[in-house]
């Protein structure tokens, strides 16, 4: 976008004609970013791969932050009447632990995998709306930082991540913590919504030739399903947060009982969002596991259509079970009955997946790499979590279990054992593709066992203490309620705390593994795992434009079928390797297009994204600041809309001395 013009350096002035001053030239500090290397290439990128990596790094940072919050909680609860955290700080701690893990780690990490691999897996060069993609990331980062600012500005939100009314209203939560929480989540919600629109359009419109919907890899399918879930769920939480913010900031009475409101309104709104949300958290990991298991079993996924349809069924039925979070809220026996039965129903498609994964491994040739260990770990732990879930689908039973540590155990088994183990499987599986090096396998296995054992030590005993009557969200527990004997609630609380620190050691080991690999590991081969899907048909890391020639797809697991041919006779299958990954890649490169146009980087998404927290700060403290932020947002929207997708030739300074930083990003290059 030309903001400040300069005259063209044309020699026409020497013949007396007035110089031509054109609109396309720009000058000064605000020129369009065009770098392909260096920190500027990350800051202004619209490349889905770089955005995916940034999502991953940011999400992992919040995983660590959320983990630290959890460690503090467990340290406080390791013994009776703990004094490490005061009641007020503890309430903030568990609220922010859940918020960080759900909104700032799990959702963006799913976005990381989706952003990086979805275009590659469907044979596209980028997503449908690259600048919108960048906007989504910066919005998420801005919102995430904004929510955490509250720690330094009077105290973080302390109403629980579920933020029930009327406890969330100003008389009961007087600090600004909840304001930061609500507005910050609105901002990250914008990120999720734009990402959803982006990926849905990409999948529906940009699949390569021959890639029908039922030939897409399962990761792509699961990511697609959650984008639809996000599309419909995020507006619900947006409405709920609007009502809450209007009540807190402008004195509305949506949840004010004295004015005739019913506090259950918030619960319904939140859980109509909240239940699809948990499927949003776990389905991408299901997708990852559905990629990893077949590769390391040397067999295709058993029952691909069943896995796909059960994913869609989970997404669909997930909308009809929200009030199972409200069995004790007094919604009446008829509603309780209906939701109880619906919740039991949703166990069926989940069971289908477990069965299919197990049958994928059955009769296979199992190679226990770290990624495979994590994937099997997910199958085991999620089964345990799912079974405890069935026990609380039984509503009368749930009235004893809800709001106790039994529920904490259940959802940590499905979220940690499900989502987190899945993400780690994805890390170890795709690291060589994304970064060109394999993570150390030995360290990886120790990482796996530490995390698995730690997880079971932490959350296994929580089933027990929950059934023994320890409620959740309590900053202390007492000896008086802990029961007699050695194996009383006190013992299991201590075990849980030890387990939490074990997990922490495992995570540290992963970080160490990453550092060690980055420093000193040798480059990885193109196809270290003998994989099956299209993203492996690229260089490691993939070129900026992904594929030199968009591949033509003839079957599910296209890459595998290009490498192996069935030379057996009737009824007898005999797979022979006919091509290596390198040969296939060379073949594709030979057919490469020569005129590939990629969208150019831009800073408008970032400017727009960071104007939003300015508006939010203004809403909380001073309306003037909100107006300033809104003006910036308006300017950014204009700048974005008027900026062409591809930068003009004249935006590039002639390189001073062949410096690499200014090469045109519009031509397929070898980076």
């Amino acid at each position: 976008m030309a903001i400040i013009e300069r005259p063209a350096p044309a020699p026409s002035r020497l013949v007396g004609a007035p110089p031509r001053v054109t609109a396309d030239t720009s000058y000064g500090v605000f020129r369009r970013p065009v770098e392909t290397t260096g920190w500027r290439s990350w800051l202004f990128t619209v490349d889905h791969k770089k955005i995916g990596i940034m999502y991953g790094v940011a999400a992992f940072a919040f995983f660590v932050i959320g983990g630290l919050e959890a460690l503090l909680i467990r340290a406080q609860l390791a013994g009776p009447d703990g004094t490490l955290l005061s009641a007020s700080v503890y309430n903030q701690m568990f609220t922010m632990h859940a918020t960080s893990m759900v909104f700032l780690f799990a959702m963006p990490m799913a976005a990381a995998f989706g952003n990086y691999f979805l275009p590659l897996q469907i044979g596209a060069r980028d997503v449908a709306f690259p600048r919108l993609n960048a906007f989504g990331f910066w919005c998420f980062l801005a919102g995430a930082i904004f929510v955490n600012l509250s720690w330094f500005l009077g105290g973080a939100a302390d109403g629980g991540w579920f933020m029930y009314a009327p406890n969330s209203s100003v008389p009961f939560s007087p600090t600004h913590g909840i304001d930061f929480w609500g507005l910050g989540l609105q901002i990250t919600g914008i990120a999720s919504l734009t990402g959803a629109i982006n990926l849905i359009v990409t999948v529906l419109n940009m699949r390569t030739k021959g890639m029908s919907l039922m030939r897409m890899p399962v990761l792509t399918w699961m990511v697609l399903v959650i984008q639809f879930l996000l599309l419909f769920a995020i507006p619900v939480i947006t409405v709920a947060l609007f009502l809450l913010m209007f009540q807190r900031i402008f004195g509305a009475t949506f949840f004010s009982v004295a004015d005739g409101a019913d506090p259950l309104l918030w619960q319904h709104l939140f859980w109509i969002f909240g239940h699809p949300e948990v499927y949003i958290l776990v389905l991408p990991s299901f997708g990852i596991v559905s990629e990893v298991l077949p590769v390391f079993s040397k067999k295709p996924l058993f029952g691909y259509p069943f896995v796909v349809f059960s994913g869609a069924a989970i997404g669909f039925v997930g909308w009809g079970v929200w009030a199972h979070h409200m069995f004790a809220s007094g919604i009446g026996p008829v509603s309780v009955m209906v939701f109880s039965i619906a919740t039991m129903a949703i166990a069926v498609p989940t069971g289908v997946k477990i069965i299919n994964w197990t049958l994928t491994m059955w009769g296979g040739k199992l190679k226990f790499t770290t990624a495979m260990l994590f994937a099997i770990g997910l199958v085991v732990q999620f089964t345990l979590g799912g079974l405890s879930g069935v026990t609380h689908a039984v509503a009368p039973s749930d009235t004893q279990q809800t709001d106790t540590y039994y529920i904490v155990a259940h959802f940590h088994y499905v979220l940690f054992g499900g989502a987190v183990l899945g993400f780690f499987a994805g890390f170890y599986y795709w690291w060589p593709k994304v970064f060109g090096k394999c993570l150390d396998e030995r360290l990886g296995k120790i990482n796996f066992w530490l995390m698995s054992i730690g997880m079971n030590l932490t959350f296994g005993p929580m089933h027990i203490i929950g059934l023994q009557g320890q409620p959740r969200r309590m900053y202390v527990w007492t000896e008086a309620r802990a029961g007699e004997g050695f194996f009383n609630m006190g013992f299991w609380n201590l075990v849980a705390s030890i387990g939490a620190f074990t997990i922490a050691v495992g995570v540290l080991l992963f970080i160490f593994n990453v550092v060690k690999t980055t420093r000193s590991a040798p480059p990885a081969p193109l196809d270290p795992w003998d994989a099956r899907t299209l993203e492996w048909m690229t260089t490691s890391p993939p070129k900026a434009h992904n594929f030199d020639a968009l591949p033509e797809v003839h079957a599910l697991d296209e890459f595998f079928h290009r490498k192996y041919e069935d030379v057996g006779e009737e009824g007898h299958h005999d797979l022979r390797r006919v091509a290596t990954a390198e040969e296939i890649l060379a073949g594709e490169e030979a057919k490469g297009d020569h005129h590939i146009h990629l969208p150019s980087p831009s800073y408008w998404p970032m400017v727009l994204a960071f104007s939003l927290p300015v508006v939010a700060i203004g809403v909380i403290y001073a309306p003037v600041v909100a107006i300033i932020g809104a003006v910036f947002a308006l300017l950014a929207m204009f700048g974005w809309a008027l900026e062409p997708a591809v930068a003009d030739e004249s935006d590039y300074e002639p390189p001073a001395d062949d410096a690499p930083g200014t090469e045109l990003a519009t031509v397929g290059s070898s980076e």
Partner: protein, 406 residues
């Protein structure tokens, strides 16, 4: 190719892990006598839940064991031993449909008794006694409406922290809240029910035998959610009648110029604006009527008329009994329990440590929003008891006075 260690050691480790998990689950059953143990029902409602719960757990456990078993088998049997690339089976629809229908049938089998139990637990037309409960940050108010049930109650009674009920009686708890959502949960007697402001929700309670049954607020309600507890005390119908008579007994003023009489004066000046003691008269002989709505945001404070007939205070967080006396009550056998409880808090059994600390500085002892400089959001009304700056002498007098509130 990355190095892959011998598969057998991984599977061995997997089996070891599985065994460890299973063993710990078994040990679970050995934890004894947790007062809020959901698997130790003491009344027909909790028993119905338990009768539904343990078969479901057993089925889930069995399914879990089968699935783990299959996975362990697969992991051991099909590990890479150098075999050729296996058959690329894409699926067996018949098998899959069968394995989908099987869990569905199991779940239907679970659903039917679920519905039955649910309906049984929602019955209110066979109620024999009604007790009202009102949650407030961070204590429970309990009141008994006039009714024919519970052996006949002529006038409304009000107490806090401990709900006394006759054994073998179908009690219906009708509950609400004055401020945020709380939840009433006595695990050994029934599941929990949220107490929502502006709504009245009901939950059934029935205890088989005399005893004291512990409970906790189980819906996050703010700062001292962990310190909001309650107990249900079940007495035999005869003992319950005694308790009722005691609760309706007239106020006995303390003896002239005793420590308790001074305590009464201190109470009138420091406490009576919020805490109601029925029968207490002001200096001019008029009944002292508490007006807690002028000091407390939610508008109520515990009624202290018969404080020493209960044995906990401050949201049942602290004991009024010393630990040996407490043990005598909590560990009493069902036959002896009634007498032990009805004895109340005698001077010998008074736990004056906690009571004094509370009177000295309540917000220090239990986190509450009582700091006068930070109450703008609630129109300068507190949530909880404020710091009163009482002298030690005043505390002595108050304790003596309160001790007489039997």
């Amino acid at each position: 190719m990355p190095r892959v260690p011998a598969a057998s050691s991984s599977s061995r480790r997997l089996i070891a892990l599985g065994a460890a998990v299973a063993a710990s689950m078994l040990i679970a059953g050995c934890a004894k006598d947790a007062p809020q143990d959901t698997w130790d029902p003491a009344g027909p409602n909790a028993q119905k839940i338990h009768d539904l719960q343990w078969p479901v757990f057993a089925i889930a456990g069995l399914v879990g064991v089968i699935v783990m078993g299959v996975i362990i088998y697969v992991v051991v049997r099909y590990r890479d031993r150098g075999q050729p690339i296996p058959e690329q089976t894409h699926g067996k629809p018949a098998l899959e449909i069968g394995l989908t229908i099987l869990p569905a049938l199991i779940l239907i089998g679970v659903a039917v008794p679920t519905v039955g139990t649910l309906l049984a637990l929602s019955k209110t037309d066979d109620t024999e006694c009604v007790v009202n409960v009102t949650g407030q940050q961070w204590w429970w108010e309990i009141d008994y409406p006039p009714q024919a049930g519970c052996g006949g109650i002529d006038r409304a009674l009000i107490t806090s922290g401990q709900m006394v009920i006759p054994t073998g009686t179908k009690v219906l708890v009708r509950g609400t809240s004055r401020d945020v959502i709380h939840s009433w949960w006595i695990p050994r007697l029934n599941g929990k029910r949220d107490m929502v402001p502006g709504r009245v929700q009901t939950v059934r309670l029935e205890a088989d035998e005399p005893g004291i049954y512990a409970g906790q607020c189980t819906e996050f309600c703010g700062l001292s959610h962990a310190n909001m507890r309650m107990e249900v005390v079940a007495l035999s119908p005869e003992d319950f009648a005694t308790w009722l008579a005691n609760q309706t007994a007239e106020y006995t003023a303390p003896e002239e110029s005793s420590l308790a009489a001074d305590g009464e004066a201190v109470f009138l000046s420091q406490c009576a604006s919020c805490h109601q003691v029925d029968g207490l008269l002001t200096a001019d002989g008029a009944p002292a009527i508490a007006a807690p709505e002028t000091r407390v945001y939610a508008g109520a404070a515990p009624n202290l008329t018969h404080l020493m007939s209960r044995n906990t205070f401050a949201g049942a967080t602290f004991d009024l009994l010393t630990s040996s006396c407490r043990e005598a009550v909590w560990e009493a056998s069902p036959e002896e329990f009634g007498a032990a409880y009805l004895a109340g808090v005698t001077p010998a059994c008074l736990n004056s440590v906690d009571l004094r600390e509370w009177l000295r500085n309540a917000p220090e002892k239990k986190p509450m929003y009582a700091d006068p400089t930070e109450l703008e959001a609630t129109d300068f009304l507190t949530r909880g008891m404020p710091y009163l700056a009482l002298s030690e002498e005043q505390i002595d007098q108050l304790v003596a006075y309160l001790l007489e509130r039997q």
